[in-house]
Symmetry: C2
DNA sequence: CTCAAAATTAATGTATACAGTTTTGATTAG
DNA sequence: CTAATCAAAACTGTATACATTAATTTTGAG
């Protein structure tokens, strides 16, 4: 019953398949799922990257079984695509798809604001402002983290609704939005977002829901259009290399 | 308070009818997923039903591996819930959750109508009318099929948008809606739906999107409230028995 | 040399084994 | 007869094996 926190970094770096014992029996799949998800959102795994089950498995020190179920979830979420008998790959949405996703996102975030009506408390605003602060801080440092944080702002809003389903849907469109920005966006596309987030908070504090909705819509249109210019490169890196950064189980 | 204590509707026992293995290696998981999904939506598998991997596996003549990935998908979709180390069960949403889901659904279907604007063609109307006809036909016969068809009307509308993500989201809320109606709905709750579907079609044909939106909203509210009266029965049946009807393997 | 067929390697689909956890059932004490 | 205890049975989590299908490399003919 007591979970041991055996920090047991047992990496299969070499090609040798070594017998490792799972440090904590339990949610390995969850961990792999979360890690892959983050790696994708943060652009560490570029769209189109192949995800062979056993390579990913050795990266995390788990078997294909575990990787497989993580991948099934990612496919269901649209972050990964897979055809029968073929390797899963990080999704690489077309511009058409991207636009469709952002249209759905706008509708969902409108719903968020509606649900939020009269449900917002002072503590919520504090958290929102705190988040924006960390966005600002990250802005000048890490680029991919900036994208992730920007998305998490919207996720935070959704969470305040307490509507589980809405949270999940928003979570999905936000993730895929990040992926899309990674694909089509220019380097500093998330730059102005911080200001727009702030304006939104202020409208909400004023209780001006109509204005908030307008700002949100504008914001999302801006985010969507800011990221529609050039189709960019994908860098080539070793999968093992990339995933090694995600291996240390820093889960919540 | 009338909750029974032994909620013990598990699925399988009895001699597993050994199914000869499908020599065609392929999408077994897909088949299991689809079948379970249908079984849940058609109320054949009542909310709360336990879904042990082995039992389901023997029902379909496949191994746990296959069942497992199907269940992962169903969990991601919210039709099945699962806690670590414990058996998956068919979801049994609370009234609170049910209402939250229907609120999201209303928003999504509003989006559908918006996307549909100017995209509707004569052939679409033909299909919609044909579908309503089959709804009417099924109404007097099979009760669960009626619920399913009613949901598929909404899915059809969503499909006409061509927006993949929207289709998936609507698909999910429709499925879960069916589940909810099965849980809380009275026998004939889908009765009047047919008329409301017709009225909606007519508004769309007139090109009156505003009216269509109003009707849709009204319709969904009606469906939601029609199904909020008594907390009802769940029938007790053997799992094997139930699933045997879903077994006939769909050829690839 | 070029290109296509064959052979080889890599990766997925599926089943199964085993360890650890939960659930069930039975036995015993009060 | 009820409640607590504990062992057996039922399940899940995970790894691994094997068959089959995709990807890649080699080979052979023109």
């Amino acid at each position: 019953m007591i979970r041991r926190k055996t920090d047991h970094t047992d990496i299969a770096e070499g090609p040798g398949p070594k017998r490792k014992r799972a440090s904590r029996a339990g949610n390995l799949a969850e961990h792999v799922y979360t890690s892959l998800r983050r790696a994708i959102i943060e652009q560490a795994l570029a769209p189109g990257t192949k995800l062979p089950e056993d390579s990913v498995g050795t990266s995390f020190g788990v078997s294909r079984t575990v990787v497989r179920s993580a991948i099934v979830r990612l496919v269901a979420e649209g972050l990964v695509v897979q055809q029968p008998n073929m390797r899963a790959t990080v999704a690489s949405p077309s511009l058409e798809e991207a636009r469709a996703i952002f249209r759905v996102r706008r509708g969902l975030e409108r719903m968020v604001l509606e649900e939020l009506m009269s449900r917002l408390e002072p503590s919520h605003f504090a958290k929102l402002r705190a988040h924006v602060t960390s966005e600002e801080k990250a802005k000048r440092h890490a680029e991919p983290e900036s994208i992730r944080l920007s998305g998490e702002f919207h996720l935070l809003l959704a969470q305040f609704t307490g509507n589980e389903l809405l949270i999940r849907f928003v979570s999905e469109v936000v993730s895929r939005g990040s992926l899309i920005l990674a694909l089509y966006g220019r380097p500093h596309s998330s730059e102005c977002a911080v200001n727009e987030h702030l304006a939104l908070i202020e409208a909400l504090e004023r209780g001006d829901l109509t204005e908030a909705a307008r700002l949100m819509d504008e914001h999302l249109v801006a985010v969507a259009t800011r990221g529609l210019l050039d189709t960019d490169i994908k860098r080539e890196r070793s999968l093992q290399d990339i995933l090694s950064a995600y291996r240390p189980a820093g889960e919540a």
